[in-house]
Structure formats: structure tokens, C-alpha cells
């Protein structure tokens, strides 16, 4: 429980602050860079780097009108859960628990969407649940892979290793698991082809899906919570080569660039196709890599 002996350990306290305060800023900046790069891929200029912050601040200052007050409750719960999971990541806690805490946020996001009898937010909520159902097993299996490589679900165990996780226990299974993580990452970043429940762009048959009924400051909260989540998932990506800061940065840049590329070269799939594809190929990949890890 060293992670929570806050008073005793200034380093831990520092990491807590990083998780709580630096992470959302980083998440917002990543979102800004993402938008600029995406625009560049489409031969456009794109918004200023700080655009996500402008958006969030503006939303915070808007008049708040809701169709159901539970939207207010759920957006705060989502925010709390996302922030907590992110902080827990920086405190090097248990991967599964971090992930379950993150799931609290996802579930409350859905409950909020479902609490309004609007067909768009209802459908968005249902689709979001399908997405959760699609990526959750994949992430758990990735974590199991990390467990098999390090002997623990604690993130601290990853840092305790001499070799990068990617090279531990054979490169092949870890690379396969990394690909599986990429699937989950695509969903979490709400990027094409898996942005079925509510994409960043509203040009979708369900308007903004799960976000349709969140407005004003509640939408701002959801946005910021999303930044936390992005940092969290990218953090998991970084674990795969966490031996040096350079390696982390290079891995993150490459992964994120790949995500942007994939976002720009694919159409959105329907949820049936998504579920089929994720479960078939994602589970197959993770099964093979886990079997490999068991065998060797």
C-alpha cells in the first residue's frame, strides 16, 4: 500500500499531483496536437494548439440546461473516476483496478446518456456499452500478458524490470499484445473505424451519440475526463517500453501517429462489424500471445 502512504513519501505525493494536474493538461495538449495533425493529414491548417482548452472553458461557461439532472451527477462521476484512475496509474497501482475504476466512469457516462429519453443518446449509450464490451476483455488479456511477463499486475513491477516489456518473454507475443492494445486504444480515443458510439465529429447518424444530451459544463467535464483517459491509455502503451524516457516518448509518438493515420484511412464500421472484428481478431491475437507466454 505504499501507493497511498501519501504523507510519508514526497515522491508519491509528486506523482499524485502529476496524475491529477499534469495529466489533464497533457491530455488536452495531445488532443490539440491530434487535431492539428489530423487537419494536416487532410491538407488543412487546423485549430490552435490550445483549442481543446478553449473548447472546454467555453463549455464550462455556457448556460447549463439539462433534460435530466442525472446528467449532472453522471458527468461528475465520470470525471472523478477518470481522474482517479489516472492518478492511480501514476501511483503505479494495480493495472486491473485502475482499469476497473476507469470502467466506473465509462458506466456512469452511459448511465447518464441512458437517463434521458432521447433516442440519440439512448442509442449512443447502448453503443458505448457495446464498445466497452468489445475492448474490456482485450484490455484484461493485455494486462494478463503483462502479469505473465512480470509476475504482477502492479505497474511498479513493470518499472522494476531491466528489460523493456516488449522484449520480455519473447518479442512476438508482446508485439501481438501491443496490437491488441492498439484496438482498445482506437476505441478509447474514439477514432475511426471504431468511433461508433459518439465520435468527435458530429457527422454521424446518431448525432453525437452518447454525448448528445451532455451540454454546457457537463460536456466540459466529460471532455476533461476524456483527456484523463487518453493519458491513462497512452500510459499503458508506454509501459511496453518503459526503460527510458526517450523510448517512452518515441513509442508514444509512433503509436499516436499510427492512430491518427488509421483514423484518416478508414471508414467507420457498424457495431456488428466492430464487435465481430474485435472479438475475432483481438481475442485470437491475445489468445495466441498468452498461449505463447504460457508455453515459454
Amino acid at each position: 500500500m505504499q501507493a497511498f502512504e501519501i504523507g510519508l513519501n514526497p515522491a508519491t505525493f509528486g506523482w499524485l499531483l502529476v496524475g491529477l494536474l499534469v495529466a489533464p493538461v497533457a491530455g488536452g495538449l495531445i488532443a490539440g496536437v491530434d487535431r492539428i495533425l489530423t487537419a494536416k493529414c487532410q491538407s488543412r491548417v487546423g485549430p490552435p494548439l490550445l483549442q481543446p482548452f478553449y473548447d472546454a472553458a467555453k463549455l464550462w461557461g455556457k448556460e447549463t440546461k439539462v433534460s435530466n439532472v442525472w446528467i449532472a451527477f453522471c458527468s461528475w462521476m465520470y470525471f472523478t473516476a477518470a481522474a482517479t484512475s489516472c492518478v492511480m496509474f501514476f501511483l503505479q497501482s494495480d493495472l486491473l483496478i485502475i482499469f476497473f475504476v476507469q470502467a466506473v466512469g465509462a458506466v456512469f457516462l452511459v448511465i447518464g446518456a441512458l437517463s434521458v429519453p432521447s433516442p440519440y443518446s439512448q442509442i449512443g449509450g447502448q453503443r458505448e456499452l457495446l464498445q466497452i464490451m468489445a475492448y474490456e476483455p482485450l484490455l484484461i488479456l493485455v494486462f494478463v500478458g503483462i502479469f505473465l511477463a512480470t509476475g504482477s499486475f502492479n505497474i511498479s513491477a513493470v518499472y522494476a524490470m531491466d528489460k523493456p516489456l516488449m522484449l520480455e518473454s519473447g518479442v512476438v507475443p508482446m508485439v501481438l499484445l501491443f496490437v491488441v492494445l492498439g484496438y482498445a486504444l482506437t476505441i478509447k480515443l474514439r477514432k475511426s473505424p471504431f468511433d461508433i458510439s459518439g465520435s468527435h465529429h458530429a457527422h454521424q447518424e446518431i448525432v453525437r451519440g452518447v454525448f448528445t444530451e451532455y451540454s454546457g459544463r457537463y460536456l466540459a467535464l466529460v471532455e476533461v475526463a476524456h483527456w484523463y483517459e487518453v493519458v491513462l491509455v497512452l500510459g499503458v502503451v508506454a509501459l511496453f517500453w518503459a526503460t527510458s524516457w526517450y523510448a517512452i516518448v518515441i513509442l508514444l509518438v509512433l503509436t499516436y501517429a499510427a492512430e491518427i493515420l488509421v483514423d484518416n484511412i478508414t471508414a467507420r464500421l457498424s457495431w456488428r462489424a466492430m464487435l465481430g472484428k474485435l472479438w475475432a481478431s483481438g481475442l485470437a491475437l491475445s489468445f495466441v500471445s498468452l498461449a505463447w507466454l504460457y508455453a515459454f
Binding site: 442509442i123 471508414a267 467507420r268 464500421l269
Partner: protein, 358 residues
Amino acid sequence: MPRTVVPFGPQHPVLPEPIHLTLHCEDEIIKEAVPAIGYVHRGLEKLAEIRDHNQMVQVVERVCGICSMIHAAAYCAAVEQILGIKPPPRAEYLRVVWSELHRMHSHLLWLGLYADAFGFESLFMHFWRIRERIMDVMEATAGNRVIISVNVVGGVRRDLTPEQQKWVLSEVDWVEKEVARLKDVMMNDYTVKKRTVGVGILSKEQALELGAAGPMLRGSGVAQDMRMTGYHAYGELGFEPVVETDGDSYARSNVRFREVLAAVDLVRQAMAKLPDSELATAYKGRPKGEAVMRVEQPRGELLYYVKSSGGKYLDRVRIRTPTFANIPPLCAVLPGLELADIPVVVLSMDPCISCTER
């Protein structure tokens, strides 16, 4: 199983225009779809009673902002029929040039919207980027980007100078090159095919029975294109209708994609053959009689019925637009689709609600 009722439109981000579909779905499978229109109805056929036949050119041009020039050309051709005059050959060729430019911009616009319908944003951006070149051509040659007002009864109002012709050809070359580059994306991309192949199938028999028009008809294997009738100067140009046989959204998008390239070819042919003559035929008197004119819009067969008894105002202008004809086939293919396919299928008929409701 519980049904979810989705009010799809009139204000909806996927729909550029207001139309409403009440969709009843189960697990996102459409069980029932009831359309509602009337959100764009202006009643402009009635304007014929208070605008003379020359002013009506500008009115029918605004039936639809996307294929405005073709509307005006069809209307003018109908009135010319009644008047018993023929526009000079240069005017006929120029009408072909501008018609085909309109077709290119309309199809590129549609390809972009279609890409957006299946969530391919970068493709949408790219098609629209290409399209802007055509818009520049329009603006430079006709004085406006969208509603170009080049037609008058008896001919056209604008000419192309030799320099302009050269420039237009070079721009069109660029467009052809850029569009050809996207061929693989539209036709072979895995995710695109996953979203379009086999979605919204309209068989040849259905298409004929339900009166489909344009790419909707040609995508189902019926080689029917009004340009084959040789109106304007089409009869003097080499032209083959683009036909696909599968009848699904993929086939319809392929028809339109290939028509962009065909339009490029037609522009080149017309430019090469552009005869020298007056721009408009002068005439005296007012039209008296009735005429039916059919032309090929980007969206399909467009029919104008004009009746006049020789008074200051026309008796009747009736516009049957292709989307009007394509709504019954659309209603027939919607049930059984997934909700996510609705934008794809609705767009695959290239709806122009503004045309439909007038």
C-alpha cells in the same frame, strides 16, 4: 422486442437538407421507415404565375443550388421548344460544358458527403478539396460559384475565351488526376466496401417498377441516361452511359465515381469541337403551347413540363426531379437495414430535397 423510434431529421448533422424519416428499429435493424417531407417546399411552380418566362429562368435555377445550371438549361430548352427556336450551336456546346462541370462538382460533392456518411472524414475533405477547383472554374467563367446564371431562353449569356478554355482544360486535367488517385479508396478499400457492398440493394426489376432515375437506375443495371437522347450537343459527342449491375450502394457510388471521369471526357470533347456562332437566338413574341423536356441531371432524369397560352405569364411549369422519383425506391430498400447504414443508403440515392419539394 422493444422498438426504438428514431426521429431522423429534419435537423440532423448527417442530412445536409431537412427531410424526416421516422425509423422504428430493433437492435438497430430498421423495421419500418416512414418519410415526411415538406420542410423545403416553397411552391415555386406557382411563381410562374407572377414571373414572366424570362424571369422564371432565374427562379428554376434556384430549384436546386447544386445542379442549378441544368435546371435552367432544361427549362430554356422546353421554352425554346414551344417557341420553335433552336439555340445556336456554340450555345449548345457551352451548355454541355457547363452541364458537365456541374455534374463534376455535384458528384464530387456527393462523393464527399457519402464518404462522410460512412465516417471517412479525410476522404470527404479530399473530395471537397478537389471540387473547389471546379468551383473556381465556375466563378471565373460564369461569374458565380454555385448558381451561375448562364442560360437565357434562346442560348447562353456567357462565352469562353480561348484563354479561359485552355485554363479550364488544365484545371479539369488536374481534377481528373486527383480523382483517379482516389479510385482505389472508393472501390477497393476494405472498410469502405464493408460499409457499402450489399447495402441497400435495389434490383433491376424494382428499380424499373418503382420508377428510379439516374445513378440509382444505372446502378441497378439499366442503361438509361437522358444524355443518350442527344439533347443540347450531346448527340454529337461520344458518350456511353455508366452502368453497374449490383444495385447496392457500392454500385451506385461507382456509377457516380466513373461519371466524374466521363464528365471530364465530355468537357474535353465539347471544348475541342466548340463551334463558332452567336450565343443566343433572338426571338419575337411569347411562347404558346406546351412542351416536355427531359435532361440528365447529376441525380438523374429531370423532366420539365411547360405550358403557356401566349399570355404574359406561363400557365404551368411542372418540374419532376430525379429525387422525387427516387423516394419510392428508397422507402422500399430501407427496412431491414442497420441504423448505421441509413445515411449511406439515403445518400446513395443522392437526395436533393430542395429539388423534390420545389
